[in-house]
């Protein structure tokens, strides 16, 4: 077990924390396009480049689609890559997200979660990356700037693992995390470089009959991105799914390894339970709102209510077993979604949670709360009302509305 490494305390906002983490991870290529609220990431990184503090090729592409393409192509050449986006930019990359995952390129991307148009809204909401849940990217959502810093460092290790070989999104709530100054503990450069190490490459069999490292290399030519018939496509998709399965284990492993150095662990890496051991009512949530909810849980506990929260850190791959385990004592819960999937039965995280708990020995009552869209704020006072709704349900046994819009002007 390695000793805890001494860390410095700095004041950084979420975006700056991400930029610093990228700087320390010895990233070779950053190809990005600015979009609020991710702009500080690219601006800060540009400063590092301009001052010679990093050895990165920084490519200011002319659109996000080209940014993702350039990252994919650079990754295919065997180097470590990073990018960042949000909202409409992420949506513009949509085609390439699938291609990057299908090409098994471990691109790491920070998404400063922001609402999608139309109408245009620059504020925080998770609809942008939730909409990309089918694309084959690992998705981790952070609670604060500290976790943003830690998760970016962990991301390279997770994504680049040969058994995973999938790209990864680290989501941080737009403005709430990206632009809020917080106290962040950071490692010295050497410690991070050592932790992340060099990028390993999986092996592939080429048309020359050789098994060689998976990269574009004139010494070992290979053809990447061919067209395949119905006779072959399915198997490649199954391989990606296997990468996701391996990611479940890898995320937990990396969380443990990182905790040994930093003293910080985020639950088991997949789910972050707070006072859930004997909780009877609970809220499942993704992102920074968890921080506010923890304060309310403490208040309720003081009042004798057995409340708890589960912050879902890893959304893809969805941690079914870990979720079931964490929530096993809960009888009534709310799942809060800071995103919307039109025409669905409740929010996205609600749907996936309910699906995972369908086979639980005792099926809890689950209510969907769609909240915070377009950066609509909720104070601790407001959020307490959700717990009060759950207490009400536990008293009456009645769920009047299963899908609720929290904070909406009705």
């Amino acid at each position: 077990m390695e000793k805890l490494v001494k860390q410095a305390i700095v004041a950084l906002n979420g975006d700056e924390a991400v930029a610093l983490a990228v700087k320390q991870c010895d990233v070779d290529v950053v190809a990005a396009y600015p979009i609020t609220p991710q702009t500080i990431i690219v601006e800060k990184y540009s400063e590092y480049v301009a001052n010679g503090e990093v050895q990165t090729e920084f490519v200011c592409t002319e659109s996000e689609h080209s940014a993702m393409t350039a990252c994919l192509a650079a990754s295919a050449t065997g180097v470590r890559v990073f990018t960042a986006s949000a909202s409409a930019g992420l949506a513009l990359m949509h085609e390439m997200l699938f291609v990057t995952s299908g090409s098994r390129m471990p691109v790491v991307m920070a998404v400063a979660n922001r609402a999608l148009s139309s109408p245009l809204n620059i504020h925080g909401d998770q609809s942008d990356s939730m909409a990309e849940r089918d694309s084959g990217w690992i998705q981790i959502y952070v609670e604060n700037a500290q976790e943003a810093y830690d998760s970016i460092i962990q991301a390279f290790k997770i994504a680049e693992d040969v058994g995973v070989s999938l790209p990864m999104i680290v989501g941080l709530d737009g403005f709430t995390i990206s632009h809020t100054l917080e106290k962040v503990e950071v490692f010295p450069q050497e410690a991070v470089k050592q932790f992340v190490g060099e990028r390993p490459l999986p092996s592939v069999l080429t048309h020359e009959g050789k098994t060689v490292p998976f990269k574009l290399d004139p010494k070992n030519p290979m053809t990447m991105g061919p067209n395949v018939s119905p006779n072959f496509y399915f198997e490649f998709k199954r391989q990606q799914e296997e990468g996701m399965k391996n990611a479940l284990k890898k995320i937990q492993e990396v969380n443990t390894e990182y905790a040994a150095l930093s003293g910080r662990s985020y639950g088991d890496g997949l789910v972050d339970a707070y006072r859930l051991d004997d909780a009877e009512i609970a809220i499942v949530v993704v992102g920074s709102t968890a921080g506010t909810l923890k304060v309310i849980v403490d208040q309720l506990r003081q009042e004798g209510v057995q409340a708890g929260i589960l912050r879902l850190r890893t959304f893809r791959p969805f941690p079914v077993e870990e979720l079931r385990n964490a929530l096993k004592s809960v009888k009534i819960m709310a799942v809060m979604d800071k995103s919307i999937s039109f025409g669905g039965f409740g929010g996205t995280v609600f749907t996936e949670t309910r699906n995972a708990l369908y086979d639980a020995k005792i099926r809890p009552t689950i209510v969907s709360y769609i909240f915070g869209l377009g950066g609509r704020d909720s104070s601790p006072h407001d959020l307490r009302k959700i717990f009060e709704d759950l207490i009400q349900i536990s008293k009456t046994g009645q769920v009047e509305t299963q899908v609720r819009y929290y904070g909406l002007k009705e």
Binding site: V204, L205, T206, F236, R238
Partner: protein, 93 residues
Amino acid sequence: MSREKSWKEISIAGVCSKSSVGFMTGDWKTYTPIRDVAKCTKCLTCVMFCPEAAIKWSPDIGDIEFDFNFCKGCGICANDCPTKAITMKIEGE
């Protein structure tokens, strides 16, 4: 006949595992090029133009050779030969 490979056995990301020289396109042709060696000046125009790389120049024998395993019978070689040394005939005639 060998069984098809499972998802566990093939390389990730669709990296191609065979060279196309194993796929003989020669059976596509209806017409086949016939060269009158006497008229051929070895200008190598046909070698340059053939889309299939099916006409090869062998420096050791100092002559060209047609690779009918890949010739699709397009007729470019016959059309562009400066001395009209190549004619296209229906295969099998």
